[in-house]
């Protein structure tokens, strides 16, 4: 039987789960926004990782065939996306219920209540198909894919179309409804959900014209193959394999919990490990020559020195101030009314970096407005802000002993292209051109990966017997 290991990183902003196999290969990833209910966040991330693992196993099984038939991969990717939508839909329905429920308790007056119920129903009707379309046609792109972010964006769009007077009450109803919807745990039946997804996919391809538009897509050929009457054939030839992964008994042999919320995870004490060690271990596993790790997460920045084994020899963290962390960027994005993912690309367009003196997150907001008033361009201000973050990180790195070759950058902020630009620039300026800088596409998962890897090693090293119950996942 295959053995799998789970790492859960309950961060301050996002909760991540990674599943690895006996060869330390990532086979499942799950991520969600951390919320007041930590257990729910961890569970959602874990479930997502397990589902994702099943799809990875499917792809791995079909490795040879996928190479020969790219449309197989297209099919599986589509299927996973629709599968995600099926889960999303359940939560969306829950949110719908909550919105109506809140509305009924919020407005005592019958007439007003009816009017708002009507608006809420219309809003739901308007955004539901849009979200479905986004999932089915992979339109979510680089946008944040967390439930809260997706629905709140759509809800806002719809509310903004209505009269201004309705804004306040509708937003209040939203605020009261989103948390219960988000904190509800659902038990999904993988088999049932995948069947639904396959049906949904069939409808999609049936309704697609048998020609393609002129939009270029990397999946163009694959899609074309699926379109040309091939769909049923592909679907049928994959069904047996899909049926197989439905039946896999997915045993997690051991697990490790890490991150700020680690103490709150329902894990045995010896399965809890500091995120500093996990991030370093994960980063070192992916880039084995790593000696210095910089991790910029939601609410902290860590500079970590590791040895040849990936074990931490020293670390420095910020703890007096949040400036320079992911949340700082989130705050700035809010101040500028743009999405977090747009910040980096916009900052890349800077022609100069406006000097941002403030080292405080909250005051940076005021500074930003002041600079805008002075006529500075948004891009240039953003360039300055990103540079300021990296300056802080550089000082932390210096405190931790400097940057040694190789240097690996991890954490959610490593996804931001402007951060990468300034970091690379400043690391090279300060520590020379010979420093190799590593950034992995899965940088945000490094802590969870490190955790999963510790979970695997724990068994060989110091596993206290009889404490862990085997976790059988659905």
């Amino acid at each position: 039987m295959n053995k799998y290991y789970l790492g859960v990183d309950l961060g301050s902003t996002t909760s991540k789960a990674v599943i690895i196999n006996e060869h330390d290969e990532i086979i499942g990833r799950g991520i969600t926004n951390t919320r007041a209910n930590y257990a729910v966040a961890a569970e959602i991330a874990r479930e997502e990782a397990v589902y994702n693992a099943r799809f990875s196993i499917l792809k791995k099984k079909l490795e040879g065939e996928i190479k020969a038939n790219p449309h197989y991969k297209k099919y599986i990717d589509d299927l996973e996306s629709v599968f995600q939508y099926e889960q999303f839909k359940v939560r969306l329905d829950k949110l719908g219920e909550e919105l109506l429920k809140t509305c009924r308790t919020f407005f005592k007056d019958q007439g007003t209540q009816e009017m708002f119920l009507g608006h809420l129903r219309n809003i739901r009707k308007a955004f539901k198909p849009v979200i479905k379309y986004d999932y089915l046609y992979n339109n979510l792109g680089a946008k944040n894919q967390f439930f809260r972010d997706i629905v709140s964006e759509k809800y806002n769009e719809e509310v903004n179309k209505l009269e201004l007077a309705l804004f306040e009450p509708l937003m209040t109803i939203w605020d009261k409804s989103i948390s219960p919807a988000e904190n509800q745990l659902f038990t999904f039946d993988f088999r049932e959900l995948i069947d639904k997804a396959m049906d949904e996919l069939r409808v999609k391809y049936k309704n697609l014209p048998n020609t393609t538009t002129d939009r270029t897509s990397i999946n163009f050929d694959a899609e074309l193959n699926l379109l040309k009457g091939n769909f049923d054939h592909v679907s049928e030839s994959l069904r047996t394999h899909i049926d197989e992964i439905k039946e896999i008994d997915f045993n997690i042999t051991n697990m490790t919990g890490t991150g700020y919320g680690r103490a709150l995870l329902p894990f045995p004490q010896d399965c809890i490990r500091s995120e500093i060690l996990c991030h370093a271990f994960g980063a070192h596993a992916v880039f084995p020559k790593t000696r210095t790790v910089l991790d910029i997460g939601g609410q902290d920045t860590k500079a970590i020195q590791v040895d040849k084994y990936g074990l931490v020899t020293s670390f420095q963290m910020n703890d007096r101030c949040a400036a320079g962390c992911g949340r700082y960027l989130g705050y700035i994005a809010d101040e500028m009314s743009i999405s977090l993912n747009e910040l980096g690309p916009m900052a890349l367009k800077a022609e100069k970096e406006v000097t941002i003196c403030s080292t405080c997150t909250v005051f940076a907001g005021a500074e930003l407005r002041e600079l805008t008033n002075l006529g500075e361009k948004r891009e240039d201000i953003l360039g300055g802000l990103h540079k300021a973050i990296i300056m802080r990180a550089m000082s932390l790195l210096a405190r931790s002993g400097g940057v040694f070759n190789e240097f690996t950058f991890t954490g959610g902020v490593a996804r931001n292209p402007a951060v990468i630009k300034y970091l690379s620039q400043l690391v090279r300026e300060n520590y020379g051109d010979t420093i190799k800088i590593n950034i992995h596409v899965d940088s945000i998962f490094m802590g969870a990966l490190g955790g999963a890897m510790f979970a695997r090693r724990n068994l060989n090293m110091d596993l206290p017997s009889g404490k862990k119950e085997e976790l059988v996942l659905n």
Binding site: S274, I276, L311, T313, F315, G401
Partner: protein
């Protein structure tokens, strides 16, 4: 039976110490009636034998501040000082002390402390001390000030010229002022006699602290160490009482060594010594118990610390010498830990790591304290490179509770202990690989 008598013995040194301190504070509270003169002075490089030889009593403002911290009174004292205009960045010992004075100068035992008859600034290695005394001078106008300038060990050693320079200050300024305040003639004989006692207590203290070289260590040389250094670093060096106390304590510690026992914590004896650490920097006082608990819960024992050397690095060999009392006062002042240059500190700490067989080196960086904090990152890096052990860095403050973040400190220490644990596993594996 053994256990019972042991518990009784353990109580004995603690009872002695408690009585000693209570006695001192009582004497201070009645100083005006008894006509005893009071000298305000600092712990590092203190001239306690000299003060006692004039039958005067010492008040240590930084001891009062740390006591206020432990008794949860420092926050309001600091607020009081900040209201007066002291900035957020000023040393919190200073602010706590000033706040206490403004609040009626009630000492740790609840008894009022007398105002000073002499302000004796015997150690100038901490620049803040000078500023502190400038403030005290204003708070107590007209009180004479004696300042003993202590040359820093810039070149890593004490020269004969430096000793002579300090002896001259003692003779020309400090002693005359003390004679004037106390109304007594300087009695060098008496001073010498006290120094015999000083050296005896110093010998014992060194043995007690060095008992931590045993595995398991019978003491925690930081959290319990701060209690052990109490009498000798403050009012009792040179007295019979101090010799008695240290004799008692030494016997207790030796009993623990014989029985192979670990250190005593507030929650009883530490059962398993998992990590041995060398710690640099003062402890936090406002959350002292909580802070200690993080360590003993993880089985971490501090086997050596620099903080227990602020009032003298006796393990390097210095003893008060009855043969040259004034010279040895000078050497004592210049020899205290914060008067050593950074390379000296590094090599002292590196030796501790080696001699005490430590698994790790940890710095508690104190926001308030420049004397300690300057150079700490360099020290840490040097120790990391030279000794190849995991190093840790946490930040807190002496007596300002606003700067003790329990969650952050715990998170860091947990990470650090896990680092140490991993290191042990790896070392074991490497050793096995070599052996097989």
């Amino acid at each position: 039976m053994g256990m019972e008598s042991k518990a009784a013995i353990k109580d004995k040194s603690m009872v002695i110490q408690k009585d000693m301190l209570a006695g001192l504070f009582h004497e201070l509270s009645t100083a005006k009636e008894t006509g005893k003169k009071v000298v305000y002075t600092f712990v590092p490089g203190n001239l306690i034998e000299l003060i006692l030889s004039f039958d005067m009593l010492p008040v240590y403002p930084e001891i009062n501040a740390l006591q206020s911290g432990m008794r949860k009174k420092s926050a309001s004292y600091i607020r009081e000082a900040e209201k007066m205009g002291f900035s957020e960045d000023v040393c919190t010992y200073v602010k706590c002390d000033i706040g206490m004075m403004l609040n009626g100068n009630i000492g740790p035992t609840g008894e009022k402390l007398p105002p000073p008859d002499l302000l004796l600034l015997s150690y100038t290695g901490c620049f803040t001390f000078m500023k502190w005394f400038e403030n005290l001078e204003r708070l107590y106008p007209g009180v004479p000030v004696a300042m003993l300038h202590t040359p820093y060990q810039e070149d890593g050693h004490i020269t004969q010229d430096q000793v002579q320079y300090m002896v001259k200050q003692l003779k020309d300024d400090v002693i005359p002022k003390m004679e004037k305040v106390s109304g007594k003639k300087f009695d060098q004989e008496r001073l010498s006699r006290m120094m015999v006692n000083s050296a005896k207590a110093e010998d014992l203290l060194v043995k007690i602290l060095e008992s931590a070289k045993n595995k398991p260590s019978p003491i925690d040389a930081y959290f319990a160490g701060v209690y052990y250094i109490g009498p000798i670093f403050t009012a009792f060096r040179g007295t019979e009482e101090a010799v008695e106390y240290y004799t008692e304590l030494y016997e207790e510690v030796m009993d623990r060594v014989r029985l192979g026992l670990g250190p005593v914590t507030p929650e009883g004896e530490l059962k398993e010594e998992k990590f041995r650490l060398v710690v640099e920097g003062p402890p936090n006082w406002t959350n002292f118990r909580e802070f200690w608990k993080i360590f003993y819960d993880a089985g971490a024992v501090i086997v050596a610390s620099s903080y227990t050397k602020v009032g003298g690095v006796y393990d390097l060999g210095f003893r008060h010498d009855s043969g040259e009392p004034l010279e040895s006062l000078a050497k004592y002042c210049m020899g205290c830990y914060t008067n050593m240059n950074l390379p000296q500190r590094v090599s002292l700490l590196a030796d501790y790591v080696k001699d005490y067989r430590a698994d790790g080196f940890l710095i508690n960086s104190i926001k308030s304290c420049n004397s300690f904090s300057a150079g700490q990152l360099m020290i840490m890096r040097e120790i990391e490179q030279r000794m190849e052990i995991p190093v840790g860095f946490i930040e807190s403050d002496l007596v300002d509770p606003r700067y003790f973040s329990y969650a952050n400190i715990k998170n860091r220490l947990e990470s650090y202990f896990q680092m140490l644990e991993q290191r042990k596993i790896i070392i074991a594996q490497e050793t096995n690989a070599v052996l097989s």
